[in-house]
Amino acid sequence: MGDFLLRRLAAIVPTLFFVSILIFGLQQLLPGDPATAMAGEDHDPEAIAYLRAKFHLDDPLPVRYGYWLKDVLHGDLGDSVRIQRPVAELIAEKLPVTLELAGLAMVIALAIGITAGVVSAVYRDSGWDVAANLFALWGISTPNFWLGILLILLFAVRLGWLPASGYVSPFEDLRANLASMIMPAFVLGNAFAAALMRHTRSAMLQVLSSDYVRTARAKGLSERSVVLRHALRNALTPVITLGALQLGELLSGAVLTEQVFSIPGFGKLVVDAVFNRDYLVVQGVVLFTATVYIALNLLADVAYFLVNPKMRT
């Protein structure tokens, strides 16, 4: 396990290095003087001077990268030009809201995706299978912001069951929090549920035709026990990797969902930053998301290593 972990950690270093170059390189895409562009439309001389000094814009590019990397490694992602607060602090403040949204979306996706995948594989070529496949096609083809608008129209405007937008902290009112999060979480989890359904179905079909499942059936075990205890347990192993990687995608999908439902999370932070030309915030969010994605990838590998005995031999 130690060797495996060390090897994986060593592989991450070059990836993180190139991620840092990629994200530092984003600044170079700005037309004209980066400090003037990043200072926004006001061209506040104070902000321009801050950015010029912050990014050592009078130095050569590799030197500027060195300074930038040093700051990043010390947790300094710069200050938001608009809000005048450290970017790292803003991300830390908004992150719990998005994590709650992504977590709920993950729970909904796992419940729908795995159930639909198992039912579809067990009842292959039946009406259930057709319905589950149609659901998967619907899931991967529907833009989540459109689904959000349709759900607002139905559950908030027509039926009045749920609030159309806004966010209530679970520490203030748990019930109101869940009411405000259930629609966005469903919208965000919809595409993941579809992908999960397809993966679970294909893994279950493979496992259900394997020798040990045939043996379990021959031993006289009930079909329920064969499917749930023998087949599903093994079919779910590859789903772990997918689940961890999808959490990164959920963070990205949250940008749109939070915009539709006016949820003050990480996604709304980046969209507001884009429109305020607060480029340091955009850069900080991309760096943070990429780092989370790489960490999740590592966790997925470790989890896969732990649950899959073949990896240990």
Binding site: T15, L22, S141, L153, A290, Y293
Partner: protein, 274 residues
Amino acid sequence: MSWVKRLTQRKRAVVGLALVAAFVVMAVFAPWISPQDPLATSWSAVRKAPSAAHWFGTDEIGRDVLARVIWGARASLLAGVVSVSISLSVGVPIGMLAGYLGKWPDMLISRITDAMLACPFLILAIALAAFLGPSLVNAMVAIGIAATPVFIRLTRGQTLAVKVEDYIQAARAVGNSDLRIVVRHIFPNIAAPIIVQATLAIAAAVIAEASLSFLGLGQQPPAPSWGSMLNSAKNYVDNAPWMAVWPGLSIFLLVLSFNLLGDGLRDALDPRHV
């Protein structure tokens, strides 16, 4: 049996192909089939429900929603095709280079690809579009760049698998240059999975363009785009729901058609997959 015959035997793929063709016709012939000017405003027809005069209703400044949906197909299809063309033209040669040469070029290209894949697609596209500036062209470039690593990885893997085949060794033995081996012998043998991925990537690019336009980073107003139409529609959900229904349905159908076609192509081009 040829792959075209296998493709046409799949009902879903045929439906996908027919829908794609219908959208292409709609986009190309928009000036002739659009009932009205998509930019013409009318203050006497603000947020009118669907009627004989306006089949899909009107928007918040009295523009005909049907006309804007028809013209919006241009932005979506253009974004899908152009951004995937960018990904293909950059990703396929780099992927073949990495797979064929191996050693340090492969290691370097693979690490850069890993780094790009570590940034979630939409976040990277938003960041690129934000830094490049909001416009349809920049959105297409951003989506194209963000989708490139998938093609590099796919092409590299396919090249690695094919380059050890006997016929490649034979081509080398008779004195073919590396360039000729890659272009004439490897590429034709790895094209099928790339075509399938490109079709599915167009679906993802259409959603990405709509997402960027929805956020205000794609097609700029007043030019019609399904994503930007949904952006304004979300403010009038309670009294003008038709503003949201039609552009959203159009995105859904176009993405669905490319997904159906992509799935069908995968089955037709790779019989082992079925």
